[in-house]
C-alpha cells in the first residue's frame, strides 16, 4: 500500500509541471481563444536559460526564479505584440494556431542549432536530499516542483481574484466585447494574459531544469502533455488545469510502475483522445468551449 502511495506522490510531484504549463495554456486560452502550442518549447528555452545561469554563474535554480519570472513575463509581452496581436483579432483562429506551430518549430530548431542535441541537466548539490515520512521517501527537489505549483497557483489566484487587471482578464475570458465596452483595451488584456502564461512557462522551465536531463526535443512532447493536462482539467478553469496536470502525473507514474515505462505515452495520448471524445469539457471545465457550437 505504501508503495502505491509512493508512486502516487511521485506522480503528483512530476505532474506539477504539467499543471503549471497547463495553467499557462488556460490563461492564454481564456482571452485569446487559442491553445498556445509552443508553450512546451518556451519552457525548454527557459530551462536552458536556467542551465546557463547555474553552470556559468552558479545561481541556484530556485533563485533563478527571481530573474526568470520577470524575464519570462517580458518575453511573453514581446512575443504577443510581435506575433499575435493582429492574429488574435481575426475570426479565423487557424492563423494564430499556425503561428504558434511555426514558433514551436522555430524555437525547437533554434535550440538544437544553438545548444546541440546533447541533454543538459543540473548538478544540484542537494539533489539527493530526501524527506522521509514513515515508509515514504520524497526527494526534496521534486517536492520543490509541487512547491512551485502551489506558489504559482497562489500567485495566479491573487492576480485573478484580487487585482483590477486580473478581474479584467476574467471578464475578458467570459465576454471580450462587453469588456471592450467598459473602456478596457482588449488587445492589452490579451497581452497581459499571454505574458502571465509565458511567465508560468518560465516557472515550469525552472522546475524542468531541476529534475530532468533535458534537450531541445522535450518541447514538443511537453506541450502535448500540457495540452492533455489542460483537457483533463477542463478548459475555462485555470485551477482545473493545474489539477489536470497533477492527475496526469499520477496516471503516468502508475502506468510506469504497474505496466511499463514504454506504455506511458500510449496511455497518456489514449486518455487524451478518449477525454476529447467522451468528456470534452474535462473534469472541472466550462461546457461549450471545446465542443462544437
Amino acid at each position: 500500500m505504501s508503495y502505491f502511495l509512493q508512486v502516487v506522490i511521485n506522480g503528483i510531484l512530476l505532474g506539477s509541471m504539467y499543471g503549471i504549463a497547463a495553467a499557462g495554456l488556460s490563461l492564454i486560452f481564456g482571452t485569446m481563444r487559442i491553445i498556445f502550442l509552443a508553450q512546451g518549447s518556451v519552457i525548454v528555452f527557459f530551462a536552458f536559460v536556467v542551465y546557463f545561469l547555474f553552470a556559468k554563474a552558479g545561481i541556484d535554480p530556485y533563485l533563478c526564479l527571481l530573474i526568470i519570472v520577470p524575464f519570462a513575463f517580458l518575453v511573453g509581452l514581446g512575443l504577443f505584440y510581435a506575433l499575435f496581436q493582429k492574429a488574435t483579432a481575426l475570426e479565423d483562429k487557424n492563423v494564430s494556431l499556425l503561428i504558434a506551430v511555426g514558433l514551436m518549430y522555430l524555437i525547437e530548431n533554434a535550440l538544437l542549432k544553438a545548444f546541440s542535441a546533447s541533454p543538459r541537466g543540473l548538478n544540484i548539490s542537494y539533489a539527493s536530499a530526501v524527506l522521509v515520512v514513515g515508509s515514504i521517501r520524497i526527494a526534496y527537489v521534486p517536492l520543490g516542483l509541487l512547491g512551485l505549483a502551489l506558489a504559482s497557483a497562489a500567485v495566479v489566484f491573487v492576480f485573478l481574484r484580487r487585482t483590477r487587471v486580473g478581474t479584467a482578464v476574467r471578464a475578458a475570458a467570459e465576454d471580450m466585447e462587453a469588456t471592450t465596452l467598459q473602456g478596457i483595451n482588449s488587445v492589452w488584456v490579451c497581452a497581459i494574459s499571454f505574458a502571465v502564461g509565458v511567465g508560468l512557462a518560465g516557472v515550469a522551465g525552472v522546475g524542468m531544469s531541476t529534475v530532468y536531463s533535458f534537450d531541445y526535443s522535450f518541447g514538443f512532447t511537453f506541450a502535448l502533455k500540457a495540452l492533455i493536462a489542460l483537457t483533463l482539467g477542463g478548459l475555462g478553469n485555470v485551477f482545473g488545469a493545474l489539477a489536470g496536470g497533477l492527475i496526469l502525473g499520477i496516471i503516468e507514474n502508475l502506468t510506469a510502475f504497474y505496466i511499463s515505462a514504454d506504455w506511458i505515452e500510449a496511455v497518456s495520448y489514449g486518455i487524451f483522445v478518449l477525454v476529447l471524445i467522451f468528456l470534452p469539457q474535462g473534469l472541472f471545465g466550462k461546457r461549450g468551449l471545446v465542443k462544437k457550437v
Partner: protein
C-alpha cells in the same frame, strides 16, 4: 443655442457588401432622453455599436461634445463620456455584482471617483447594494438590467446608450426600468434608448427617431410620434403592446 451633445452625420455602415446603415443623421441634446424605434433589423443596434466604436463606418461622422469621434477606439469614447449598455446586457456572469461595477469604473478618471459613483448607483438601484457580493449570473432579469445600467453609470458618462432595456422583462419591470432611466436622466445624464416597446419609449422621451431598413424615416417629439397615425399602425398596437 448650444450644439447637441451627440451629432451623427450621414453615417453609413456595411457588413462586407451588405449595407446596414445608410446615411443616418440624428442629434441628441444634452440632458434629454432620445428614443430610437423601429422593427427588427432596422439597424438600431448597428447604429449604437457604431457610435460606441465597435463597428467601423464607411461614411459619415459622429461628433460628441463638438469633437469628432472618427478613428477613436471604444476606450477613448468611454473616456470622453459615451457608454453603451448592450443588447442582452452582457454582464460578467461569473463575477460578482461589485466586480461588475468595478469594471465599469475601470478608466482612471472614473476610478478616482469610484466610491461616489458606487453610492450613486446604489442610490438609483438599491437592490444592487443588497446583492453586491453575489454573482451577477444569479440576479433576476430586472436586477440584471439594473446592474447593466449601473455598470455603465460607474464610468461617469455624459451619454448612456441603452439597447433594448426591456428585453425579456415583464411589463411591470419594464415600467420600473424606464422610471429608473428617467431618474437617471433627471440627475443630468443624457440617454439614448433603442426600444422594441415603442409605446413606453415614446412616452418617456423628449425626442424620437424611427428607423427602417438602415435609414431614419421619421423624427419628432415623443408626443408627436405617438399621435402619428403611421407610427401607431406600424409599431403601436391597441394598448401600446410590443411589436
Amino acid at each position: 443655442m448650444a450644439s447637441p451633445l451627440l451629432e451623427v452625420k450621414g453615417l453609413s455602415v456595411s457588413y462586407g457588401d451588405v449595407r446596414a446603415l445608410t446615411d443616418v443623421s440624428l442629434e441628441v441634446e444634452e440632458g434629454t432622453i432620445v428614443a430610437l424605434v423601429g422593427s427588427n433589423g432596422a439597424g438600431k443596434s448597428t447604429l449604437l455599436k457604431a457610435i460606441a466604436g465597435l463597428l467601423h463606418a464607411s461614411n459619415g461622422e459622429v461628433i460628441f461634445a463638438e469633437h469628432s469621434l472618427s478613428n477613436l477606439s471604444t476606450k477613448h469614447r468611454v473616456d470622453r463620456g459615451i457608454v453603451l449598455v448592450p443588447e442582452g446586457r452582457r454582464l460578467f456572469q461569473t463575477l460578482t455584482v461589485q466586480e461588475n461595477l468595478r469594471l465599469g469604473a475601470y478608466l482612471p478618471k472614473a476610478r478616482a471617483n469610484f466610491s461616489e459613483s458606487l453610492e450613486r448607483v446604489f442610490g438609483l438601484f438599491p437592490v444592487l447594494r443588497e446583492r453586491a457580493g453575489g454573482r451577477a449570473g444569479l440576479l433576476s432579469g430586472g436586477e440584471q438590467q439594473m446592474l447593466a445600467i449601473g455598470r455603465a453609470v460607474m464610468a461617469q458618462p455624459r451619454l448612456v446608450m441603452i439597447d433594448e432595456a426591456s428585453l425579456g422583462l415583464s411589463p411591470i419591470l419594464t415600467r420600473t426600468i424606464f422610471n429608473l432611466i428617467v431618474a437617471l436622466n433627471q440627475q443630468g445624464t443624457t440617454v439614448l434608448v433603442v426600444e422594441q416597446n415603442v409605446h413606453m419609449a415614446l412616452k418617456v422621451c423628449h425626442k424620437a427617431y424611427v428607423m427602417k431598413t438602415g435609414q431614419i424615416v421619421l423624427s419628432g417629439t415623443g408626443e408627436e410620434l405617438l399621435a402619428n397615425a403611421d407610427v401607431r399602425k406600424a409599431y403601436v398596437g391597441e394598448r401600446g403592446s410590443k411589436l
